[in-house]
Each structure stands twice: as structure tokens, then as C-alpha cells.
């Protein structure tokens, strides 16, 4: 199945077959990272820029390693140590970097639509590495990849996503991807953070975590930020933990083989108890491992690698 996209800006506009193509390519790349020599000579001489306007541990490192394992050069740009602090605009920043003849820009930005805006004036491939509360497509791809590795399918699985849905780009991209591939998605959290209009995305909403966990195959916990409490989305962290934290007692309501996922960083003891985070049912580090394979697949398909090169 060919993948004819120049950019990866989100999941919402992708077809189910395009998503499947990306996931299948990920499988081919998973093995490379387990080799002694973790490198394939696909993108020698290509230049990729990690353009991060927000702090990141996993996504930035993961893209960096993915690019390096494809033999491309990668430039790590961090806004805190750049002319952005002098007030240089996003447009000028991107155009100056592009003048250095780069091939692909990986953008993390706090403003929704920033990567879309960049595509209106630049020639390079653009990959959205998280734009505001909008989308984080590679996270959803690596999450789906992880679920498929564990459950061998996505159709008809009950996936419960818990937490600050309103402000979560991870939740949005996962909702778009999982519903396109036939999973049953249930969103859980306080009503202030789970607007009813989300039902129009083809999901169910439940404000009661205990009830929602019944027969769940996958439990996806989201990070809750203390800033939300300060804005009265919920009364206190204590109350949030009482209602929406995943602990062993609650976990037992789900299916026996239910897996636990979290995009990180975790607030241990807040949305997820430490014993579950470190348990065998936790996929958290698997997600990180799979992230590299998926990002190699994304770079590979966008930048037009040839099929045989993966096998070589």
C-alpha cells in the first residue's frame, strides 16, 4: 500500500489504509533497533531538524534516534537556546533553518495548527510532534502499534482513555486513530475535562471510572496537570485521585489481560499508582521502545525510502 503524503500533520485526515501502512512499516523497523549495529543506510546525506518549542524527553530523543538509525543527519533545535528568546518569529526561524538546505522538519509547538502554518511557506516535509492540545500523531501510532503487538488487533477492543481529555493532543490523536480502526473508545474524566461534544467523534463518555473499566482491554491513563486544578476544572488533586486514579483495586474491574498505557511523563501516585506503573501489565516502556520503530517508519514513508532498503 503506497503512502502518498508529504507531511504528517495529524491522524484525523488519514485513511484507515494509510494508518495500516504506517503500522506495518513500523513492524519492519522494530527489528533494526534490536540489532548489534542499529543502523540502516537509507537516508545518508539527508538532514532532519528537531524543531522543539516545548520541553520534551521522549518524543525529541525518539525522533533523534530514529533519524540516526536511518543514517540521516539530525539537528536538534531547542527554542530556549535560540533566537526565539530574542523574539524571532516561527516563520523566520523556519525559513532560516530551511536556508541551510534541510529535508524534514519535526515540529513540537504549544500552538495548535503551528505545523499546518509552517507548511504554508516551507518546502520541507513537516512532521507534527505535538501541536498544542490538537494532535500528536506519532504518539497515537506508537500506541496503536503497542496495542496490536499485545492484542494482535484493534477492532472491537474496548479502550478506556482516562484524564484531561480536553487539553490532550494524545487523546485526540488516539481517538481519531482507534475509531478509524474499529476500536470501542470510552473517555473518562470529570465533565469539565470531557466535553460531551466529543461523542461526535464516535466515542462513549463515562464520568465513572469503575463502571467504565468493566471489560476493558486497554486502559490509557493521561497526565493530569496541577494547573487544571488551579483553574477549577476539579476541586483538588485528592478528589481527582479518589475518582480517577488507576490503582490495583480498580484495575481488577478490567479484563484479566488488560494492558495499561501512559504517554508519559507520569505523575506517580496521581493518575496511576506506582505498583501498576511498574507492573507486568504496564506497557509504558514498550511504548517508548516502539516509538522509535514508528518514527523510523514515518520518516521512511514520508521521505520516500525504497521498499528493499528495509530488508538490506
Amino acid at each position: 500500500m503506497p503512502f502518498n503524503q508529504k507531511h504528517l500533520l495529524g491522524i484525523e485526515h488519514l485513511s484507515p489504509s494509510e494508518i495500516t501502512t504506517l503500522l506495518e512499516a513500523g513492524e519492519s523497523f522494530l527489528e533494526i533497533s534490536t540489532r548489534e549495529v542499529k543502523k540502516v543506510p537509507i537516508f545518508r546525506g539527508k538532514t532532519i531538524v528537531n524543531l522543539f518549542f516545548e520541553p520534551s524527553t521522549r518524543t525529541r530523543s525518539s525522533f533523534e534516534l530514529a533519524a540516526k538509525r536511518l543514517s540521516s543527519d539530525i539537528l536538534n533545535f531547542s527554542s530556549q537556546s535560540s533566537s526565539v528568546v530574542k523574539g524571532e518569529s516561527l516563520k523566520d526561524t523556519v525559513r532560516n533553518l530551511e536556508a541551510m538546505n534541510v529535508d524534514t522538519l519535526i515540529i513540537r509547538h504549544s500552538c495548535s495548527g503551528a505545523p499546518h502554518y509552517v507548511t504554508t511557506f516551507c518546502q520541507s516535509h513537516v512532521i507534527n510532534a505535538g501541536d498544542g492540545p490538537h494532535e500528536h500523531p506519532t504518539q497515537a501510532l506508537l500506541d496503536a502499534f503497542t496495542i496490536k503487538q499485545e492484542k494482535k488487533k484493534l477492532e472491537n477492543l474496548k479502550v478506556v482513555i482516562v484524564g484531561d481529555i480536553l487539553h490532550s493532543r494524545v487523546a485526540r490523536s488516539n481517538i481519531f486513530l482507534l475509531t478509524k480502526l474499529g476500536a470501542h473508545v470510552v473517555l473518562v474524566g470529570p465533565p469539565s475535562l470531557v466535553p460531551v461534544e466529543f461523542k461526535k467523534f464516535g466515542v462513549d463518555i463515562d464520568y465513572n471510572l469503575d463502571r467504565a473499566l468493566e471489560k476493558a482491554d486497554v486502559i490509557m491513563m493521561l497526565r493530569i496537570q496541577s494547573e487544571r486544578q488551579q483553574k477549577n476544572y476539579f476541586p483538588s488533586i485528592r478528589e481527582y485521585i479518589n475518582l480517577y486514579s488507576l490503582n490495583p483495586k480498580r484495575y481488577r474491574r478490567a479484563k484479566k489481560d488488560a494492558i495499561i498505557m501512559h504517554p508519559g511523563p507520569i505523575n506517580r501516585g496521581v493518575e496511576l499508582s506506582t505498583d501498576l506503573a511498574d507492573s507486568a501489565k504496564s506497557m509504558i516502556l514498550k511504548q517508548v521502545e516502539h516509538g522509535i520503530a514508528i518514527r523510523m517508519a514515518v520518516l521512511y514513508l514520508l521521505m520516500g525510502g525504497k521498499e528493499r532498503e528495509i530488508i538490506d
Binding site: L90, C111, S112, H116, G132, R172, E197
Partner: protein, 428 residues
């Protein structure tokens, strides 16, 4: 020099006129309106197949002078107005400094006298520095030339202050205009809150942020028995509140902008900052309700909320762009094409909403009508003229229009202010 406009279809809602008549203008005033006027001394303007209307009045314009002349000046804004068919524009007080005193009002009028091609009517602030704490010296400012009072985009949050403003405005007999928004509810929202704001990941401004203030203002106006004018109404709930208020004879008038009538929140999928405006572009359901409001007479006035911003300010991430749409040069053609051409409203109703009613709200007795003695402010339209909106041809200093490239039928072709032709389209 006299001017004789011949054979135009004269639409004057004030006198319920819709017929082919000639209009004679002398020394800035209309002197005669009747069938077949002959005057050898007059310059003749042939207007057959054209509509001649009382000059259009925009109740809601931002001219940026003083303080932000890089966005717009009184000169460029008035030229944009003339090209857009407006003979009078009322400018909001959110300049730098804020127009909250007689000196600034008089400064605006003196600049207008020097550089404007249209009439400029300053709207002064309700409260000092638009801070909602201390009322401005309304009587003094009104004497200096302000036609209305409004805190515009920093609406009066304190209901007690708003009550006092409405009560006090009886002295000056000019309306208070309120931009209805509860800033706590809109917080740092950027677009209409609903399905599309969740889809695009942009923080929402709920309809309720407008509606609670519409409701409050109607209640205060009823109590104070003072007219209030509600700026740029955008939601279904607001239309319902206004309808109920009018049934109870509360003295309220309300305006609607072309962008709220012809665009919806779904269009923001491009993240084009030219679509970022406050109040935000609302849902399809709201748009339908605004249309009903126009048709049923619940909404009284078309206004532009012309809000020019420099190119660089809008060429940025959506979050960082300022709110506002450049409206003076597109409003008339948009309404002619989308409402009049489609017979959703009559041409008379259109003229009433953009000239007759604004003149009556501002108590401009010599404007908004075509009768002997009235100011010779006229807007001449060609209902069949096809135009393509091109921001690069704007007279405005700014280009921030989401309507660039729209093909529209119907356009202002000649604008006459005080008997003088200030704008004329070459091939009208």
C-alpha cells in the same frame, strides 16, 4: 456646483420610497427629489440601472488613530469606507490613548477634518481607559462630538457601573453600546467553543459568554429605561433574548456583521488567523438564527466591526494573532450577494439596516434619508456588478480579510459625501 443625479432607482426607507427619481444637490444638501428634474447649472450624473440610497453608516469601525497608525489611519480608514459605500463611520474608542475625554474626541475630529473623505463620528469610552471603574465625563465628551459611548472590546464587567452608565446617558441622549462578553467565561479562548474547537484543539469561547451579558444588559436597560445598542450579536441564544426583550418593549437595538452571517467555525480548519475574530465565527445553527434575526427584524443594523491589523501581526501562529477582520470594503458586496440577490431580504430592508436605522440610533437627523434638506450623503449601487474581492486592491492599510478571492454580485459604485463624489468605480 450643483449635482443632479438622474434616473436612479431611489431607495429611501425613511420615506418608503422605491422609484425612479432625480435628485438635485446644492451646497452639500439635497434640495429636490422628484421625477424629471432639469437644471442647466448642474453637473449631471446618469444613474439609470443603479440604486441610489441614503449614505451608508457603519456603526462599528476601528480606525487605530491615534496610536496604531501602522494598522490604519483616519485617512486610510475613511478611504476604505468610501470605497465600500459608506459615507459615515463611527470609530470605537480603543485607540492609544483611549478616547475617554473631550480632547481625544476633538483630536479625532480635527484629524478627520484634515484627512477624511467621509464623515467620522467618534464613539467615546464609557469608563476611563476602558477599565470599567470610573465613568467618563459623558456630557462634556458628547458636546465635543461623540455620538455614542462604549467600552468596546473591554466591556463593562461590573453590572453596577453599567447600570450607572445607562442611567447617566439619559443626560446626553446618546446610546450606550455594549460588546457583550463575560471575559471570565471566554478566558483565553480563540474560536467558538463546540465540536470544531475540540476537533482543531483551539481553546473555545462559549456562546454563554455573550449570552449572559446580553441578558444582563437587557435587564439593566429595562430597569434604567434607557436605550442600549448591542454590538456584533453572534449567537442563537442572544437572538432569542433580544426577541423576547423587543416583545416586552425594552429599548434595545442590535447589530450583526457580515462575517458572522457568512462564515462558520468549520472554516477554521485552515488555522488562518484572518478568521480569528471576537466574537468568534459561530456554528451553522447560530448562523441560521442570525439570518432569521435579520429577516424578522430582531437584528436592526449591519455593521462591519472593521478591525485592521498589519500583515505581520496576522502572519503567525493562530494563538498569537490578534482578533479582527477587515470589513469596510467587503461588507456591502457580501450582503448584496448573499442576502439581497437571493431575496432573503429586500433592498429596502438592507438600506434600512445600514443607513436609516444607524442614523436614527445616533440621532443624525440629516442623515439616513433622501429628502430636501438632508445632507447630500448618498451611496450608489450596481446590483449586477460582478466583483472579486482582492485584498491587494484595498484602500485600507491592512489586508486581513478572509474573503479574499470571493466572487460577489452587487457593489457600491459611487459614494457621495456632502454633495462631493469621494469614490467612483471606473466602470460602474
Amino acid at each position: 456646483m450643483k449635482l443632479l443625479i438622474k434616473n436612479g432607482r431611489v431607495i429611501d426607507p425613511a420615506s418608503r420610497t422605491d422609484e425612479t427619481l432625480d435628485i438635485l444637490i446644492d451646497r452639500g444638501k439635497i434640495t429636490e427629489v422628484k421625477d424629471k428634474i432639469e437644471d442647466k447649472d448642474a453637473r449631471v450624473l446618469e444613474a439609470s440601472r443603479l440604486v441610489v440610497a441614503p449614505g451608508f453608516i457603519d456603526m462599528h469601525t476601528h480606525l487605530r488613530e491615534p496610536g496604531q497608525e501602522y494598522k490604519e489611519t483616519i485617512k486610510t480608514g475613511s478611504r476604505a469606507a468610501a470605497k465600500g459605500g459608506f459615507t459615515s463611520i463611527a470609530c470605537m474608542p480603543n485607540t492609544q490613548p483611549v478616547n475617554d475625554n473631550r480632547g481625544t474626541t476633538e483630536y479625532i475630529l480635527s484629524q478627520a477634518k484634515k484627512s477624511a473623505v467621509t464623515n467620522i463620528f467618534p464613539i467615546a469610552a464609557v469608563s476611563k481607559e476602558q477599565k470599567g471603574k470610573i465613568l467618563t465625563d459623558m456630557a462634556d465628551i458628547a458636546e465635543g462630538g461623540a455620538v455614542a459611548f462604549s467600552d468596546d472590546g473591554n466591556p463593562v464587567a461590573n453590572s453596577q457601573i453599567m447600570r450607572r452608565a445607562l442611567e447617566y446617558s439619559k443626560i446626553v441622549d446618546t446610546p450606550v453600546i455594549d460588546h457583550c462578553e463575560d471575559k471570565q467565561l471566554s478566558e483565553d479562548g480563540m474560536m467558538h467553543e463546540g465540536y470544531y474547537s475540540y476537533l482543531f484543539g483551539l481553546k473555545g469561547i462559549p456562546s454563554t459568554s455573550e449570552e449572559v451579558m446580553v441578558s444582563r444588559n437587557l435587564s439593566l436597560a429595562r430597569k434604567a429605561e434607557t436605550p442600549i445598542h448591542l454590538a456584533h450579536i453572534s449567537t442563537k441564544g442572544s437572538v432569542e433574548f433580544i426577541q423576547q426583550a423587543k416583545e416586552k418593549k425594552i429599548p434595545v437595538t442590535a447589530e450583526v456583521t457580515p462575517h458572522h452571517l457568512f462564515l462558520t467555525d468549520a472554516s477554521l480548519k485552515t488555522y488562518d488567523p484572518n478568521l480569528k475574530v471576537n466574537p468568534p465565527l459561530r456554528s451553522e445553527e447560530d448562523v441560521q438564527s442570525l439570518m432569521e434575526g435579520v429577516k424578522k427584524g430582531i437584528l436592526d443594523v449591519f455593521a462591519t466591526d472593521h478591525a485592521p491589523h498589519a500583515f505581520d501581526e496576522k502572519d503567525t501562529e493562530f494563538d498569537l494573532a490578534p482578533f479582527g477582520i477587515n470589513g469596510l470594503e467587503t461588507a456591502v458586496s457580501l450582503i448584496l450577494d448573499r442576502l439581497v440577490k437571493k431575496n432573503l431580504i429586500s433592498i429596502s430592508r438592507f438600506v434600512q439596516m445600514i443607513s436609516t436605522t444607524p442614523a436614527s440610533i445616533f440621532k443624525l437627523e440629516n442623515k439616513g434619508n433622501i429628502s430636501p434638506g438632508a445632507d447630500a450623503d448618498l451611496t450608489i449601487l450596481n446590483l449586477h456588478k460582478e466583483i472579486t474581492v482582492d485584498v491587494n486592491q484595498f484602500e485600507s492599510k491592512s489586508r486581513n480579510s478572509p474573503f479574499h478571492g470571493w466572487k460577489l454580485r452587487g457593489a457600491p459604485v459611487i459614494t457621495i459625501v456632502g454633495g462631493k463624489i469621494v469614490y467612483s468605480l471606473q466602470k460602474h
